[in-house]
């Protein structure tokens, strides 16, 4: 990042212009006119410098039939503009069951596609839950390995005759979770196929591209509903082969440098839990808050990315 003094130096503009357009910054999940917010059940399709703190999850009865409260956080750091690593963990209180620290989770994520005119982007990642790092009530899991694919599509390319549809966007995620050991202690840990998607209606997009919204609060909201499911594919115990998951309607308030998301968590069946829970998070966009220091990629060179440009 250049200082203003350097940027305004006469004669530097030509070189700066070339540099600006050839090495764009990629804040959050931005592709074309679309800004995909951070969602709670599935990941957004972008790569970013971001701190999620806290992420709170409360369930009146989880899949084991006990009350659960989780408070955690995650820090994502860009190494290249379109490649980041993240690390996260958190604390869990079970009633009954007691307290424990969750496994530390790390992920490497590579955004390999952004087609601006289609508002379409995709990224691939690989995450590991390090089982040995859990404590207390959360002890007892092996390492879990998950390749992940995330995609997002805004509807902004629709014709003007469908203007009211253009603020819609969908995101999707598929992954598999494979335990390092299928049998750990006296428990079996299944391999699972995980899949989910979100449907969003962006009022910031509506305000900037469709029709002006006068209300300062409303024009920052993104009503969202997420669907997240998991289906065991191997090593499941008898009676646990069914699909579990949740439907999560909620809303995101997106400011310039942060966002707050709040969603209800409604289990789809008994094995997924009982009663509606609540999940919420505060996300700080470090690339916008600290664009010159910790919010900046370590290396400025963008890794190969398909943009649809000839």
């Amino acid at each position: 990042m250049r200082t203003p003094e350097i940027r305004l130096t006469a004669g530097a503009f030509a070189g700066a212009a070339a540099a600006l357009w050839l090495t764009p910054a990629f804040p959050h999940a931005v592709c074309g006119s679309r800004i995909f917010p951070t969602t709670l059940a599935i990941d957004d399709p972008g790569v970013t410098d971001e701190l999620t703190l806290p992420a709170v999850n409360w369930l009146p009865k989880n899949s084991d039939g006990v009350q659960e409260l989780d408070i955690g956080g995650e820090w994502a750091k860009t190494i290249f503009p379109n490649f980041a690593i993240s690390v996260g963990s958190g604390a869990t209180w079970l009633h009954p069951g007691g307290f424990g620290w969750d496994s530390v989770e790390t992920e490497a994520k590579y955004q390999f596609m952004c087609i601006p005119q289609l508002e379409f982007m995709a990224s691939a990642g690989f995450s590991v839950e390090w089982g040995g790092s859990a404590t207390g009530s959360q002890i007892g899991e092996p390492n879990m390995y998950s390749p992940v694919l995330d995609v997002g599509l805004g509807f902004g390319a629709l014709p003007q005759s469908l203007n009211l549809m253009r603020p819609f966007a969908i995101t999707g995620e598929i992954s598999t979770t494979t335990p390092g050991q299928a049998v750990w202690g006296e428990e079996m840990f299944p391999t699972a196929f995980n899949w989910g998607f979100s449907l969003q209606y962006s009022l910031p997009y509506y305000n900037a591209n469709v029709s002006e919204i006068g209300n300062e609060f409303l024009k920052h909201l993104i009503p969202t509903v997420e669907f997240a499911f998991s289906t065991p594919t191997a090593h499941a115990e008898e009676g646990t082969w069914g699909t579990t998951g949740a439907i999560q309607p909620g809303v995101v308030y997106m400011a310039d440098k942060w966002q707050i998301a709040v969603e209800a968590m409604i289990p789809i069946n008994g094995p997924s839990g009982h009663g509606a829970g609540v999940v919420a998070s505060l996300d700080l966009f470090l690339d916008d808050i600290f664009p010159n220091t910790i919010g900046k990629p370590i290396f400025s060179q963008t890794l190969p990315m398909f943009t649809g440009a000839r």
């Binding site: 804040p27 703190l53 690390v87 916008d288």
Partner: protein, 121 residues
């Protein structure tokens, strides 16, 4: 993050909330003519962003019933770098016009968007 202590969390939040010299990507907050609005005959396109923008690297184009509209050089308002102003060279005839903008914020983040407005007869 491994084993975050409350002290670390508090210190981090204080550091973040205390930042005053940071910039973000520029989102379009308001436009004149208004996004989706109807006007008599604008003499300029005025785009109000959430953050300061670099006029040298930001682009605005307007297309109407007769094709591309001739525009003057983009500049920011002297007292507010978040307001980008683009003069319209000739009066616009009645019809629907499409504005396409690309903005580069002062920290080089790119944003873009497209909207329409109508010039009434």
């Amino acid at each position: 993050m491994t084993r975050i202590s409350m002290t670390t969390i508090a210190a981090s939040l204080a550091l973040i909330c205390g930042a005053t010299s940071a910039f973000a990507h520029a989102q379009l907050e308001k436009a004149t003519p208004a996004v989706g609005g109807t006007v008599a005959g604008p003499s300029e396109i005025r785009l109000e962003f959430s953050e300061g923008v670099e006029p040298k690297f930001s682009k605005v184009s307007v297309a109407g019933p007769a094709g591309a509209v001739s525009l003057g050089a983009a500049k920011t308002e002297p007292s507010n770098q978040a307001v980008l102003i683009v003069p319209i060279s000739k009066p616009l005839s009645a019809g629907v016009y499409k504005v396409h903008w690309q903005a580069v914020s002062v920290d080089t983040h790119h944003t873009q968007g497209t909207f329409e407005f109508t010039v009434k007869p």
